[in-house]
Amino acid sequence: MSVAAVLAFLQDSAIAHSISKSNHLVGAGLQVLHVIGFITLLASLVLVGLRLLGLALKNQPVAEIVKDANRLLYVGLSLVTTSGLLMFVASARMYYYKTAFELKMLLFVVAVVLQFALLRRLVERTESAPPALVRTVLGISLAVWFGIGFTGRMIGFT
């Protein structure tokens, strides 16, 4: 199947129609969930970031902070992916050809790989991991997540 056929299939599916052909406030509701999920996700990452960089909660054990931050991370990730997928399916052809959307998805893949392949492991062994490496990965990761927010906000304007 070509890309165009896949996009058409998604956008003409029952689930897409249940969103796109309903009241416009259904789409607005998904946007609301998406931004709340993003705030939750960023809250978790910024909290861990401040702790690892020694900018806040310095006297608290890293493991303690990370455990609770991870709960927020998963709540946030579930919210953004669920609401994001539903928004995409409902207007697949519109999103797919937007540069801001492409860039956002690219950054999202980078952020998720950084988070689960690298950052999570470094955080688990903060005592042995070189602090400069932890700081660099953390800085890049936060910058990428900010980039996701930024490019996401651009989608509606391009």
Partner: protein, 170 residues
Amino acid sequence: MSILATLLPLAEQLEQTALGTALAESTYAFPIIEGLHLIGLSVALGLLFITDLRLAGVILKRVPASVVLQQLLPWVLGGFVVILVTGGLLFVAEASSMLSNPAFAFKLVFIAIAAINAAYFEFVIARRPGALESSPQLPANVRMAGVTSLVMWGLVVICGRLIPYLPAWT
């Protein structure tokens, strides 16, 4: 509405200032400021939600509430400066349509309630001896202040995102 009738000409003047027209006419300024507004609020409100959840006794239960407040609030306030400046610029660019937007009006109401709650917490509740002592479960009025803050700022975010979706007051 008579208040709206008095404020609308002022809003139109604001839009026609050099700053207002520059923001409205630039292709990039508006989306860039929107982007910065989102990033500022995800840092400030994100950390504020963490503080609220600590007060409510949901997360970071083994970290003393006083430590969470003292260590995270400077970052919350720093983020608030970014939100306020970017929010102010967005308002200048679209002042008259904001004034007639119900979601924007509700957003301001919820910000005011959240501010009153924060002031009451800071100057009354938190000043009582033992209010923030390092225990997992805090006094009921402290937990209530946390929940109120969480709900009010949540409503502020919801109203903010709904601004482009709701029709103007008639």
